[in-house]
Symmetry: C2
Subunit: 137 residues, 2 copies
DNA sequence: CTTATTGCAAACCTTTTGCAACCTC
DNA sequence: GAGGTTGCAAAAGGTTTGCAATAAG
């Protein structure tokens, strides 16, 4: 797919394992754990190991092709969408994760007086709330 | 101190360990790891164990007297300030953490069209940037 | 006294790592 | 063929838990 194209152009050695992992990450709005990636990858390549999944995910993070998400449940999750700026909305009941696209750049909402001289400000926002189906039960 | 007062009023059994942990959490703008809490607690009570620190921190979190902070480095941190609404500014160079107090409630900045029917919205914001001393080096 | 809490050690989980075999280029 | 990559298994953290001993109310 598209991610794989970019990786090849970076001179990545393309193995079956890496292709399968990249494909597992290519769905829309995914935020999988390493274990979930392993599960999906195994559908296509049963011999793949968890160590390879971790190694590959870490390489993708270092390349900037994948974003680590912490603070949602206690497992680390990975966000393959590094293209469009977005934040996350998490249900406190069922841990469902949705991408949300705020109208403005959050990093500019921090007043100068609260910036403490920091530069290159970025903002990660985690919205928490109760989703419609969890509100019923 | 103040936290201990609240805990006593909740009918908490007040042991030396719990008092020492509560005191360790009573500084201004702290965001310690469990291990740091253990270190400070040991200054006053050398026999205290890490298991007790974890047990106590978890109880405080359940009571709502302590907030878990994930996503800053890879260790879980705890924020004793549950009183005044604030967010965090983290240096990407040295992991220093500062409290910041935005002017508005962030949870209201998510447009209705992006709320996906969620209710009781809350927002945790993590600002990342480069602090003045890290910019020099 | 009764019951909750502690400390120890072991168990647990997720993530990382060493290394021989293997595969891509 | 050379060197990066994989899988296995073990190690490495950080956090949780079972249980007997202890201490608070």
């Amino acid at each position: 797919v598209e991610l794989i194209e970019r990786l090849r152009q970076r001179g990545w050695r393309l193995t079956a394992q890496r292709r399968v992992i990249a494909e597992a990450l290519s769905g829309p709005s995914l935020h999988p754990t390493a274990d979930e990636v392993l599960g999906w990858a195994r559908l296509a390549l049963p011999e793949i190991s968890l160590a390879t999944v971790y190694n590959t995910l870490n390489e993708l993070v270092e390349m900037g092709e994948l974003r680590e998400l912490d603070g949602i449940g206690r497992l680390r999750r990975y966000d393959p969408n590094t293209v469009s700026a977005h934040h996350h909305l998490v249900c406190t009941g069922c841990d469902r994760i949705l991408d949300v696209f705020p109208p403005a750049d959050f990093s500019s909402t921090l007043p100068e007086s609260e910036q403490h001289g920091f530069s290159d400000l970025q903002a990660d926002v985690l919205f928490r709330g109760r989703c419609p189906s969890c509100r019923e039960s």
